[in-house]
């Protein structure tokens, strides 16, 4: 068993002054990197005139947030976009888990013959350019009256997240001690109960991290939402775009809309950062 090194007080072969210097450098780099985000949050509290000229003469307020929350009639409103996003993201993620959990089981815990080929097949579908399959999807969605519905987005978001979910879940399942599963098998526990009683409690945090990554990719997805669901049935990225106006100043409102649209996923991502990346990297390297 390899002992994990979780960041020592002093790096190997370094002096204390070096460490302090590195700490300061890290702070400077991080503040520079985050600057565009911080600036956008700052702009979202300005008036439109101040935002357009990048000045600050009229003070800060929450006014732009209430502006964007009250949509112009006939355009995509925040409530509609938010509800569409919420339903599409939650339903698609739930179905991804329902499909991916048994699949990961068959790839990790009771590996089928040639499991590696199957895993590669799943991953390889991510290499297929989306544009290569968008016309048939578009043509058939039109034929079956699915353009502009939540259903078509749910169906597609399951497909884009499923390979990633299987890949991550497999790696978390590999960490479940085999003895526990074998013991459950000798007791005659069926697959469903094995999953429920033995695997889920142990791989639970990993499953949560997998679900979160699916949520992030689905929440942020723009291409399918633009192509197949452009109008009033669309999701949050489309709503942000509606705040770009060709007439008049819009920068402060756009900033407020951006903050609203990104906040749920950013908070979730902050909460689960460590586990998420472990799942991604352990999928190949364990």
């Amino acid at each position: 068993m390899i002992r994990k090194r979780t960041g020592s007080t002093l790096g190997v072969g370094e002096r204390r002054s070096v460490t302090i210097g590195i700490g300061m450098l890290a702070w400077i780099v991080a503040l520079l990197w985050i600057f565009p985000v911080a600036w956008t949050v700052f702009t979202s509290f300005k008036t439109e005139q101040d935002a357009a000229t990048q000045t600050l003469s009229q003070g800060l307020s929450l006014g732009r947030y209430s502006d964007v929350a009250h949509a112009i009639p006939g355009t995509l409103s925040l409530e509609t976009a938010f509800m569409n996003s919420l339903v599409v993201v939650l339903v698609s993620t739930l179905i991804v888990l329902l499909l991916a959990l048994p699949a990961a089981y068959a790839l990790a815990i009771r590996p089928i013959h040639r499991w590696r080929d199957v895993l590669f097949f799943f991953i390889s579908t991510k290499f297929l350019p989306i544009v290569a399959s968008i016309f048939p999807i578009y043509v058939y969605a039109e034929k079956w009256n699915l353009i502009g519905t939540r259903t078509v987005l749910i169906v597609l978001y399951i497909a884009i997240n499923l390979p990633l979910a299987i890949w991550m879940l497999r790696s978390f399942f590999m960490e479940v001690p085999r003895e526990l599963i074998e013991a459950a098998e000798i007791d005659g526990t069926n697959l469903f109960n094995q999953l429920r009683q033995v695997i889920l409690p142990l791989a639970g945090p990993g499953i949560a991290a997998t679900a979160l990554l699916c949520v992030i990719f689905a929440w942020n997805e723009y291409f399918y939402a633009l192509q197949l669901n452009f109008a009033s049935g669309s999701t949050m990225p489309q709503w942000v775009i509606t705040n770009v106006s060709t007439r008049g100043n819009f920068l402060a409102k756009l900033s407020a809309a951006s903050v609203i649209a990104c906040l749920p996923v950013v908070l979730a991502g902050w909460a689960a950062q460590k586990r998420m990346i472990r799942g991604l990297s352990m999928g190949a390297i364990k």
């Binding site: 190997v12 460490t19 990197w33 600036w39 048939p136 990104c262 991502g269």
Partner: protein, 312 residues
């Protein structure tokens, strides 16, 4: 654990063993497999069929013409289309630049963060934020706030130090888009590299240190070889997503010379305004063939990662 070893671990001779037949074992896999085939592979097969026809969107053309087979005409057209060649070249430049730069920055940041200092957790949290943003929002932030020609923050800073303003997006479209991609993907690479750094066996590093190796020597001799597979993984996952970049292009330039990559070009030719599904499908198929070539390389890399896992 290999499949063969798993077979050996099966309790034998039990009449009610639920995994006695191979098909019972494959059963949990089937729903996911069938779903992925139906949604990602079947449309692709239909695309191949379209690529041999002159299919157009009936509602979009003034004089509707019946769809008919045109053989390989669409494919012949590709190689005489200078715009497609430009788009291919843009795709290559965009993907390679964005992947290499974000890997480079990500590794540097990970090395910085791989130590305990005041606010380490806060810094990591701040740094991953750009990756969590909607790509659309990231592109809008840079376009409207940073790159904007008159009041953009970058031009204000340039003017402040006495330099002339730069028309970032119109004069340097590719560099502008790559900047946004690198800004978003560096945190992702950083997290992967951080996982790599922290999985190094600490005792080996300490032993090297006791033996009198300096920090740079340790990094070159021990850390870099250990990080190789993490670099490969980062490059692989990054290219999967970056090669398909669409959102940043759509928001920042809406195509145009120097910034139209292949996905955006195919989009423009079809549902983005051209509505020539037949010829656009042929473009898409060519892209897939190129992707398969690249993916074969990438999967070989992955394959070596999995082999190592088995040996361990």
């Amino acid at each position: 654990m290999t499949a063969a070893a798993a077979d050996a671990a099966l309790p034998r001779g039990r009449a009610k063993d639920p995994f006695s037949s191979p098909w019972r074992r494959r059963l949990p896999l089937l729903p996911a497999l069938l779903y992925v085939i139906a949604i990602t592979q079947l449309p692709f097969v239909v695309s191949i069929y379209y690529s041999f026809t002159n299919l157009k969107d009936k509602t979009q053309s003034l004089i509707p013409e019946p769809t008919k087979f045109v053989g390989i005409d669409n494919y012949k057209q590709i190689f005489s289309d200078p715009f497609f060649r430009d788009a291919m070249w843009t795709s290559v430049k965009m993907t390679v630049l964005a992947v290499v730069l974000s890997l480079l920055f990500g590794t540097l940041f990970a090395v910085l963060l791989d130590r305990k200092f005041i606010g380490q957790g806060v810094i990591r949290t701040l740094l991953i934020t750009p990756f969590l943003l909607m790509p659309v929002v990231a592109a809008l932030i840079w376009k409207q706030q940073m790159f904007s020609s008159l009041f953009g923050v970058l031009n204000k800073a340039l003017n402040f130090v006495g330099l002339n303003s730069v028309q970032f997006i119109s004069d340097h479209p590719l560099a502008s888009i790559v900047t946004v991609l690198v800004w978003q993907w560096t945190p992702f690479m950083m997290l992967i590299m951080l996982a790599g750094l922290q999985s190094q066996p600490g005792d080996v590093l300490e032993a090297a240190s006791v033996d009198g190796a300096n920090a740079l020597g340790i990094f070159r001799q021990l850390t870099l070889p250990h990080l190789r597979r993490y670099l490969e993984l980062g490059a692989l996952l990054g290219s999967i997503y970056i090669v398909q970049a669409f959102d940043a292009i759509d928001v920042m330039t809406g195509g145009g010379p120097g910034s139209t990559n292949v996905p955006y070009y195919v989009y423009e030719e079809s549902i983005g305004g051209g509505f020539r599904y037949g010829s656009a499908s042929a473009y898409a198929i060519v892209v897939v063939v190129f992707s398969i070539v690249i993916a074969t390389f990438a999967l070989r890399v992955l394959s070596s990662l999995f082999r190592d896992e088995e040996r361990a």
